[in-house]
């Protein structure tokens, strides 16, 4: 039953994603991509519970590696997107 429930969420989220983003001006394609990319670092949330399991086994080390990599993705992604967006200005603005 859990599987069905999760698939339900997946399908709805994908439709929501399409609706949200389907018309974005070309100017914003790069920031949208790198901003979305930062969100894909959400894996860090899953990695946290594995890295903190206290088992001292392979799965904990894999989790710790995942925390580091996903954090690069999150921190780098949001900062670089903000840096880009700070440069976008309107005429005369």
């Amino acid at each position: 039953m859990e599987a069905v429930f999760l698939t339900f969420i997946l399908v709805l989220s994908i439709f929501l994603g399409f609706e949200l983003i389907h018309k974005v001006p070309a100017t914003l394609h790069t920031p949208l991509m790198s901003g979305a990319n930062a969100i894909s670092g959400i894996t860090v949330v899953g990695a946290i519970s594995l890295a903190g399991s206290g088992q001292h086994d392979l799965s904990q080390w894999l989790g710790a590696g995942a925390v580091a990599l996903a954090t690069i993705n999150v921190v780098g992604g949001y900062m670089v997107t903000d840096r880009m967006l700070a440069m976008f200005k309107k005429r005369g603005g």
């Binding site: 983003i21 070309a26 949330v45 976008f88």
Partner: protein
Amino acid sequence: MGGNVLFIQMTWVVAAILFIFGLKLLGSAGTARKGNLMSAVGMLLAIVAALLQQGLEFQWILIGFVVGGLIGAAAARLVQMTAMPEMVALFNGFGGMASLLVGWAALGGAGNTFTLVTIVLSILIGGLTFTGSLIAYGKLSETIGSGAVTFGGQQIVNSLIVLGILASAVMFCLQPENHTWLYVVVGLSLLFGIMAVIPIGGADMPVVISLLNSYSGLAACAAGFAINNNILIVAGALVGASGIILTQIMCKAMNRSLSNVLFSGFGSAAKDTTTVEGEIKPLSVDDAFYILEAATSVAIVPGYGMAVAQAQHAVKELCELLESNGAEVNFGIHPVAGRMPGHMNVLLAEADVPYDQLLEMDDINPRMETVDVAIVIGANDVVNPAAREVESSPIYGMPVINVDKARTVFVLKRSMASGFAGIENPLFYKENTRMIFGDAKETLNGLIREFS
């Protein structure tokens, strides 16, 4: 469900809402920065909530945070705007690898077949995102050649890899205790990422980056299934959907199907047999200045060459001089100009060109007939009239910016070498076209000196 768990879950709901609103605000230029901030706050909440889970040992989590945070922050601060495509590719790859590791680590608690299937998926998608992004990084930063790498039997080799992945994935689900199959899946997924991206040429990179972006979301999604976590599924699916939309936009802008981009090895396979009649008319910077001085309407069409020459600041300077000389200056931006979606927009924004001066292809084309001078800076295929006129051309049907309709066209170009696919560009031979050879930045600076 204990109070603690309920609180964590509810915080994740709030985080999901912030991601959704953040992405929505990212869709319009005035609110984009706020949107990005909102989504960052959502991420922070999601992470804090995850840290509240009971029984966590923090040491390794903290080490991961510090290492990842320092690397990410340093990279984001130091990267040049011209190096943005490869930076995005690299971040993307790390996200994919993280999902692979989470999927792998989830194996310890895996019970039923459904979970095993999702573990395989997160390893597969995460792995190919990782190596695919690394190859894309190498091509974009020119660490490895940016051309398409093709060889005889490539399709067969790739098909064998896919079959190998399928077979080992099935065996892994049947015998999860035998780790050999797991290692085979990991290895083949990494290999597949490499094989999938090497046949794609540099100019098709906008499609590849968007697609890999989508994959990194889907990998997070799969990892969410593997560890039964809603927020991973929601956030991953949003990213997956946005990546797919961008991919579609890019493919449409090249008038090619996704499978054509991915499998055709366009960059080396396409051979153009058309010959173009007419003669090349070179122009000196001095003469170009006199024409520009008399122009009242100028359209600038940049391409990847502007990024290579780092000419965006010179472009902005010339643009200001032209405007103070009484000319109206607009920029025409093709959706696939450059190496990633929106590449030109970012570079010109860096040089302080306001974004409402950057016109999309469909907005600038109707005005082209009233333009006195169209200046093409380091663009080639995106202004090739053969896409309209020559049915036998490999790019026939691709929407292009019709600079040839302007009264005069200046093409700033290093030499007469043709664009990435070796496609002849009849634009260079047209009656109203003048070629200004040399480094784009040098040429622009020459023009700027003449004006001041």
